[in-house]
Amino acid sequence: MSKKIISVNFDKPNAHRLSVYEELGGYRSLTKLFAMNPADVIEEVKKSGLRGRGGAGFSAGMKWSFVPKDIGKPKYLCVNADEGEPGTFKDRKILVLDPHALIEGIVICSFAVGIHTAYVYVRGEYDTPIKKLQAAIDEAYAKGYLGSNIRGSGFDLDVYVHRGAGAYICGEETGLIESLEGKKGQPRPKPPYPAVIGLFGCPTVVNNVETLSALPFILNNGWEAYAALGTERSKGTMLFSISGMVERPGVYEEAFGVNLWEFIERSTGGVKGRRGLKAVIPGGSSSPILTAEEARSVSLDYESIAAAGSMIGSGAIIVLSEDNCVVKALQVISRFYAHESCGQCPPCREGTYWLTRLAERMEKGEGHPGDLDLILDICPNMMGTTVCVLSDAMALPARSYVQKFRDEFERHIKEKRCPFSRARNNVAVG
């Protein structure tokens, strides 16, 4: 039985309505919150071990503590609801089914850091989630959970919803900030970090939707309750978006520390049609691929997945069966990164394009024998050498595909075709 913290209200009818949310115990953390010292709230969140759930996995409490205290500038919160990482579809669930949990989390974070203006940057394609979120915000304002003097606490907070315009790179924290400022979503060099110089040049906290939605539980039950779940360095639970060749794709919440494949099988019913497992991508398309053997033996937590050479990322798990083609997968994801690259820096702009061309001709059966070593030589040139990590997000997985499934690539070259192209249930589209 998996522990539900974020998804606890998902199956409660109309939990997105304020009246229902309140009946379910919503917003009661605010009473405790406003009686606390903001610095103590930060401590509480630090001790809970809550890590960013957007992909970077950085300690939320520690990020908040980087914001300078008395700097004379307003501070901002940017809620990252861009949910751009391919394979990720969990934040939309929160926005549609439990938006008040996010709002409650926004109030908690803002109070702790001293923020009075928050922007929720939602990807423009999320039409329904945006409508649901805005409706919830309107309800919250009407009941005094947002606006001036929230519930008589003396604390003011305004929340605005901003629509993105179709760019993955605007999910990168500084790309998001640039976009909010009305400019092209091109990431900024870091340092300085947003906590010091962010939106409009002011200290800014950027947090993922899910991260903030965990805060009410932590406030209500104490940091110990949260830290009691998970492993030593991966505390609490996470929403995992499981897709690919499984019987029941969906969003499943789980505490860290379970066996990866056991969790996938238990939640989704295992590989569709009882076909063989080929590979698992554990953390979104930006994470290196795991072989079936690795997936069966690794524990689902930050350290273990990292030790296996990959990352938890946004918790987007994509399952590949024996009928899927890894070369095709590389072609599909590289086309995504090439399309989404902002174009600022040469390694990313040119590298993603180059890898896409190489993957395309490989999948068509026109790959040259030297292509594999070429790919392996290009990838390190794209890692650690760019403004943001989109370049790494292309190169790290690409390298893992070639390294771990080299035989598949070589078959494409030798047979001058894709050996899997006639297989049933080929997952690739277009």
Binding site: C342, G343, C345, R349, Y353, N381, T385
Partner: protein, 543 residues
């Protein structure tokens, strides 16, 4: 506050908070970079300036343009990793760069070429068709854009937006579809647009004026100063060594005057050096104009102003006339040496008045570099205590020209240096004189009025000092020899001076300068022979 850093094992002392790339490049390292420019600041997108910073864990790559030095910082620039990154960035940039070198203006001074030679030198591995974008696109009165060559460094965009204050270029599109362009239906019209050609590290932005003009390796570059307005931007004159013609002007960095830039007007004001020139001495005698040798023209010049040649030699014929009143009119575009020679002449010859004329119409003044006063040396004239007269305004309400009422009957005129425009007020003034002697480099209505005409030298051919509106002395250096005569105007005037004095101090330009510095209070204590590439600011009290 001073800090100590270590680079490749070598210790360097510098000030805290400076950008690492500046510290490196000032101390002998040559850190490659595209998007960074000291006049624009860092942008961080080209990734070429990355070096390794030693950390407790392992060396970390960081862009040196956006890394401020801290005490104890340890930097490595010669590791395999750094070499690999530089070659990698170069390769990525060349991936879709068109092989235009044989027809590209930038060849020979191209950053991409230079870095390839220094940091890459590998064969191309790109086998796919390169992107097709717009080429040879007319984007304004001064610029041609080639989108394929652009490396998207954003320098031109930042320059126009942040420094020139007019955002007229931008990078549209995303990823490898990104391209540099103007805004829809608009052009680049900034009066500083041509700085983007200097800034562009490749041949994406080229100057219409210079396009296909000269391969850059044939250009000899000479440091000099712009003479189009009273700002006096430091610049360089680029001369094609094959045909000895000035092909372009470009700004030089001078933190005291113009920073890194100059305006388009000044930059394009060189064509007259190659054309419209006074090529021969001319003497008018009995209504007819004759070509003459310099010695004879000089003798006639001396006779005109009522001086012998100093050695009692015969003039062109007839007896020396009675000494008429002489008006010496020097243009405010003259150098200090030319003005001082005129001052010496006026001081030594009785019955002489000297005016310095402002005659070029006022131009646009802005808050950046351009000054409305289109004379480079008005301040120099003022500091020498000379009377500056304004001819640009034209006759006054009563129809009188400036100072014209002071001209006695039968006065003669010696006009020096009117190369930058004549204009009606000046021509009407000249008409008041019975005999006109002119030393000028450029053909104009005035030179056609001369009874004695001696060719002068343009700014590109002479050595001389000018003082800008802020009292900053800068030096013109000759970029080419005088095309038709090599004698500088100050020397021509000085030969006339010799008729009135035994003073030999003026035999050399150094002698003239020394004479000036010892006798003129404004320049006392200034070594005019030691004016370096960025000039000397005169003390405020004397300005």
């Amino acid at each position: 506050m001073s800090v100590t850093i270590k680079v490749d094992g070598k210790t360097i002392e510098t000030e805290a908070g400076r950008q690492l790339i500046d510290v490196l490049n000032e101390n002998g390292w040559d850190t490659p970079h595209f998007c960074y420019h000291p006049g624009l600041g860092p942008d961080g997108n080209c990734r070429m300036c990355q070096v390794e910073i030693v950390t407790p864990r392992s060396p970390m790559l960081a862009i040196s343009c956006n890394t401020k030095v801290t005490d104890g910082m340890e930097v490595v620039t010669n590791s395999e990793k750094v070499k690999r990154v530089r070659a990698a960035v170069e390769e990525f940039l060349l991936l879709n760069h068109p092989l235009d070198c044989p027809i590209c203006d930038k060849a020979g001074e191209c950053t991409l070429q230079n870095y390839y030679m220094r940091h890459d030198l590998k064969s191309g591995r790109q086998e796919f068709i390169r992107f097709k974008k717009s080429k040879a696109q007319d984007i304004g009165p001064t610029l041609i854009l080639d989108q394929e060559r652009c490396v998207l460094c954003d320098r031109c965009v930042r320059f126009l937006r942040n420094w020139a204050g007019e955002e007229q270029l931008y990078i549209a599109g995303r990823g490898h579809d990104a391209y540099l362009t103007t805004f829809p239906g608009k052009e680049v019209t900034s009066p500083y647009s041509l700085n983007t050609v200097d800034l562009c590290p490749v041949g994406a932005l080229t100057s219409k004026d210079f396009r296909f003009s000269t391969p850059t390796w044939f250009l000899k570059r000479t440091p000099s100063v712009c003479t189009t307005c009273s700002r006096g931007c430091s610049m360089e004159i680029d001369v094609d060594m094959r045909d000895n013609q000035v092909k372009r002007l470009r700004p030089r960095h001078n933190p005291h005057v113009n920073g890194y830039w100059m305006c388009d007007e000044g930059r394009l004001n060189y064509k007259f050096v190659n054309t419209d020139r006074v090529r021969k001495c001319v003497v008018e005698h009995d209504g007819e104009r004759f070509e003459a040798l310099l010695e004879n023209a000089a003798a006639e010049l001396a006779r005109t102003i009522g001086a012998g040649t100093g050695r009692g030699a015969a003039s062109m014929g007839g007896e020396p006339p009675a000494k008429p009143h002489l008006v010496v009119l020097a243009s405010a575009t003259c150098t200090l040496e030319e003005l001082y020679a005129c001052k010496a002449l006026a001081g030594l010859r009785p019955g002489t008045t000297l005016y310095v004329a402002r005659h070029v119409a006022d131009g646009v003044e802005d808050r950046l570099l351009r000054k409305s006063d289109r004379h480079p040396n008005v301040k120099g004239a003022e500091l020498l205590g000379l009377r500056v007269v304004d001819f640009t305004a034209g006759p006054d309400a009563e129809g009188r020209l400036p100072v014209v009422e002071t001209i006695p009957q039968g006065a003669v005129l010696l006009a020096v240096g009117f190369d930058y425009g004549s204009g009606e007020p000046l021509e009407k003034f000249f008409e008041k004189f019975s005999r006109i002697a002119i030393i000028a480099a450029r053909e104009s209505n005035l030179t056609r009025m001369a009874h004695v005409l001696v060719p002068g030298l343009t700014f590109a051919e002479k050595e001389g000092l000018i003082v800008n509106f802020e009292g900053h002395i800068q030096k013109l250096s000759p970029a080419l020899e005088g095309l038709w005569d090599k004698t500088p105007p100050w020397e021509v005037v000085v030969r006339l001076v010799a008729a009135f004095t035994r003073e030999t101090a003026f035999d050399t330009i150094a002698g003239l300068r020394k004479h000036l510095a010892t006798r003129e209070a404004a320049f006392s204590g200034v070594d005019l022979d030691a004016v370096g590439p960025t000039g000397i600011r005169l003390e405020a009290k004397t300005v």
